[in-house]
């Protein structure tokens, strides 16, 4: 009989200590503290829950120390796979309890696991500024840590809590976010929004255009929708500082050819910044465009990664276009119908105009448009969102004096990477002569266009100019000759600085 009773008792104990964890009614708070050190997480969980229900004034002495120690314990626990469904929520409870202490001693645990659970934890760590930085190395490399969340916390440090960091620390963090291998695209995108990092726009544009992930693309597009207006609201001086910050971050620890390139670019950027500060937008713009061109070259030589290329060149070009919007028509390889027609932000310096002739024109056969020429930018000329095109200003003459009295229509077409972006035309231009000195200044306006993004590193802008025998709005001939040997367009000289404006 005695044996049978013992067996019954044993069964009862097993039931109670199984998955169901009965809560005893009252436990002295001091005893709860000791339970925080229990080997079973369920016991720790129960004790923590009970302690957290106590009013602050009723918490036992040593509560803070115990919570700090508890967070340390959980942060050091690497194998939690057997802990089951509830452990994650228990862990959140530990982080919450630690967070309410606002105790810098929790920084390590917060950096390793806390920042993975809430924005509040990330904010707490970010607030600590320099004191928190040493713990990120562990969080970055620990199997318990999360690079994604480290990046998010860094972003907060660069944002609302930037004043808690020294400049060199900010540079270091910026470098880590924007230029570290191992940071996933999504983390960069979110970080850029969180901080916010408007200088990351070119990089995010690159992510949006190259990722195969719909989620990443959508998030990047969403981020650009937030960041571009912020960037647009910055003045030239702030934008110059952004470029400078990016250069400093990228050049952190640079050696060899990279170091030389950094020094050169830094000097160039200083000049641009000085010119900007001195309200000399033209020279500043030219310097920035040259800066970008040098980055292009460095990229081709392998000095810069694709991401660095985007950050440096595209940001510089964006600033350049904020300082001035004119794009000039250039030619090289002779003055008469030069074989290479290009667009550049550099204003022409020569005094002798170059010219480009159209083929012969005839009203017959439908009065077709014929191309005078196509001026193409180097990759990356434009940077940002092209929101408007200003009127094209060109000078027109005749290829042959026999055509005096011929009226012309002129059409301009803007392209991005060969895709038409906008077109404008002026009809029935009269009074065009053969004498180059009497070339007629003509303006062709672009209508409003759909905003189009240029990445500042690879996208190509081109301007195609076309002509035909002059017509009325009803497409009838507007008088004059019905044929012409050709229309001549003058450009690329101080007095014939054919151009149009692009607003990015």
């Amino acid at each position: 009989m005695g044996t049978l009773m013992k067996r019954h008792c044993l069964v009862a104990v097993l039931v109670l200590t199984g998955p169901v964890r009965p809560l005893t009614a009252q436990v002295p708070s001091e005893s709860l503290l000791s339970r925080l050190r229990a080997p079973q997480w369920q016991v720790r969980d129960d004790a923590l829950a009970r302690l957290r229900r106590l009013p602050t004034e009723s918490l036992p002495a040593g509560y803070g120390d115990a919570i700090v120690a508890l967070l340390e314990t959980e942060a050091a626990t690497t194998d939690t796979s057997q802990y089951g469904e509830g452990y994650g929520e228990y862990e959140i409870g530990v982080v919450d309890a630690a967070l309410s202490l606002r105790d810098p001693r929790t920084l390590r645990g917060m950096a390793v696991i806390g920042i993975q659970t809430s924005r509040a934890a990330q904010e707490f760590v970010a607030e600590q500024g320099s004191a928190a930085l040493p713990y990120f190395d562990e969080a970055w490399n620990s199997p318990q840590g999360s690079k994604h969340d480290v990046v998010q916390t860094w972003a907060l440090m660069l944002g609302a809590h930037r004043d808690n960091l020294a400049e060199v620390e900010r540079t270091s963090i910026r470098h880590a976010i924007l230029d570290s291998p191992g940071v996933d695209s999504l983390a960069i995108v979110w970080a850029a929004v969180t901080a916010p990092l408007t200088e990351a726009v070119p990089m995010i544009e690159g992510i949006a255009s190259t990722t195969s992930s719909a989620i990443v693309r959508n998030r990047a597009t969403d981020a650009l929708g937030k960041l571009r207006p912020l960037r647009a609201a910055l003045g030239p001086t702030e934008l110059a500082q952004k470029v400078s910050d990016v250069l400093a971050a990228i050049c952190l620890g640079a050696q060899g050819a990279r170091s030389s390139a950094c020094a050169s670019l830094s000097t160039s950027l200083s000049r641009a910044s000085s010119a900007t500060a001195a309200n000399q937008p033209g020279p500043a713009r030219d310097t920035l465009m040259a800066f970008a061109a040098r980055v292009d070259t460095g990229f081709q030589q392998g000095v810069w990664t694709d991401g660095e290329h985007r950050l440096l060149a595209a940001n510089a070009r964006y600033l350049g276009f904020r300082l001035g919007s004119a794009i000039f028509l250039h030619g090289s390889g002779g003055n008469a119908n030069p074989p290479t027609l290009a667009l550049s932000t550099l204003s022409p310096a020569g005094t002798t105009a170059k010219y480009q002739d159209s083929p012969a024109l005839a009203f017959a056969n439908g009065d077709p448009w014929v191309a005078v020429g196509t001026w193409t930018s180097p990759p990356g000329l434009g940077s940002g969102t092209l929101s408007a095109l200003g009127a094209a200003h060109v000078w027109l003459g005749l290829k042959n004096s026999d055509d005096i009295g011929t009226n012309f229509d002129l059409r301009v077409e803007a392209y991005k990477n060969g895709t038409l972006v906008a077109t404008g035309q002026t009809l029935c231009i009269q009074g065009i002569t053969r004498n180059a000195d009497l070339a007629k200044a003509v303006t062709v306006a672009f209508p409003a266009l759909t905003a189009t993004t240029f990445d500042g590193v690879t996208d190509v802008l081109s301007l195609k100019v076309l002509t035909r025998i002059g017509t009325t709005p009803a497409a009838a001939a507007c008088g004059g000759h019905a044929n012409a040997v050709g229309l001549r367009l003058y450009f690329d000289a101080v007095g014939r600085n054919a151009q149009f404006a692009a607003t990015f």
Binding site: V15, L16, G18, P19, V20, R21, P22, L23, T24, A25, Q42, D45, D46, L48, A49, T80, Y83, G84, E85, G86, Y87, G88, E89, Y90, E91, I92, G93, D96, I113, Q116, T117, S118, R119, A120, Q122, Q144, S146, H148, Q152, D184, L186, A187, W190, S213, A214, I215, V216, N218, R219, D222
Partner: protein, 332 residues
């Protein structure tokens, strides 16, 4: 009894053949007499050439007893073992009313109620009475045996009450009456017995349980937290542009959280009584993706959005990439 003139007074017990004189009343107009049993009392007076008189049958009044109500303090007469909700009131009507104070009550666990229901001890005598519901046997361990979702009839507490009264050596017994916990209080009883915060009845709403959905618990009712639902809707609306949205689990009752969640191999993965799922302040949201990388991106993006909106999330290492666990700590 009054005859109206001096008389002789007699009493004949029921079933007897002989009359018994009542000399104490002789020649009285009235007779105040305590009959020893049921019977007939009669009086007669000689008037002129004969007797006049009358008789009256004397009997004890019939004793009746019936239970009016047996109810707990909550709507539907329901109750829990929580202080303030645990008193079951007993009311009986008894005739004659003079017996009301001597009504005895017998209260036992009702049929179709939890076998662990404990009978109350020492119910005070009286037509109105009551008792505090004792904590059930093996509480809270009893819940584990019920399984998922379990039959309400074997989980709820219930009592059957019978009232009795004795008169003249006879015991009179009422028909039995029963009281049960309703479904809401049965669910709430779990919280009471596990010693955790008990949601109010008004926090519960009707919602059929499903394996996947907002009510993955064991009842046809769930805690419905408006603040959380509203905030979760914000997350859903913000997320819609980025991917699919499916809530795997939102509300779970305590025992479901502790004992009914299983992994893909069917093994129980015990949860925590500290879970915010118990108060519908947490949700597990399914992730989607054609491959592990895409699923991971889904997880990361959704949880990042959730954090931005103020949610707390479970770490990837704990939740796994299959779902995002979100909590909102301002909702209770």
């Amino acid at each position: 009894m009054t005859l109206g003139m001096p008389a002789e007074w007699w009493f004949r017990p029921t079933g007897a053949t002989d009359d018994i004189a009542v000399p104490a009343c002789a020649d009285h107009l009235e007779c105040d007499f305590a009959p020893p049993s049921d019977g007939v009392m009669f009086a007669q007076s000689w008037v002129g050439s004969g007797y006049v008189g009358g008789e009256v049958e004397i009997g004890r009044p019939a004793v009746t007893i019936k239970i009016d109500t047996v109810y707990g303090p909550n709507p539907n007469g329901s109750f829990t073992t929580r202080e303030g909700e645990q008193h079951v009131t007993l009311k009986a009507t008894v005739a004659p009313a003079t017996l009301a104070g001597s009504v005895d009550w017998s209260v036992t666990p009702a049929p179709e109620a939890a076998a662990e229901t404990q009978a109350p001890a020492n119910i005070p005598q009286g037509a109105p009475s009551g008792f505090p519901v004792p904590t059930p046997a093996n509480a809270p361990g009893r819940w584990q045996a019920y399984g998922h979702p379990g039959d309400l009839k074997v989980k709820r507490l219930g009592y059957e009450a019978t009232a009795t009264v004795s008169s003249g050596g006879t015991t009179h017994r009422s028909d039995p009456a029963r009281v049960y916990q309703d479904e809401i209080d049965t669910a709430r009883e779990e919280y009471v017995e596990f010693g955790i915060g008990v949601p109010g009845r008004g926090e519960f709403a009707l919602e059929p349980p499903h394996e996947t959905g907002i009510n993955t618990g064991d009842y046809g009712v769930m805690v419905f937290n408006n603040a959380f639902v509203s905030h979760l809707n914000n997350l859903a609306f913000s997320w819609t542009a980025y991917g699919q949205w499916q809530v795997n689990s939102q509300y779970r009752n305590p025992i479901h959280e502790l004992s009914h969640i299983k992994d893909k191999n069917g093994n129980v993965i015990p949860g925590s009584l500290g879970s915010w799922h118990l108060y519908e302040c947490a949700a597990d949201i399914q992730t989607f993706g054609a491959n592990a990388g895409a699923q991971h991106e889904f997880w990361n993006d959704l949880r990042q959005l959730a954090e931005t909106l103020g949610f707390t999330v479970e770490r990837l290492k704990q939740s796994g990439v299959g779902h995002v666990h979100v909590e909102f700590h301002f909702c209770v």
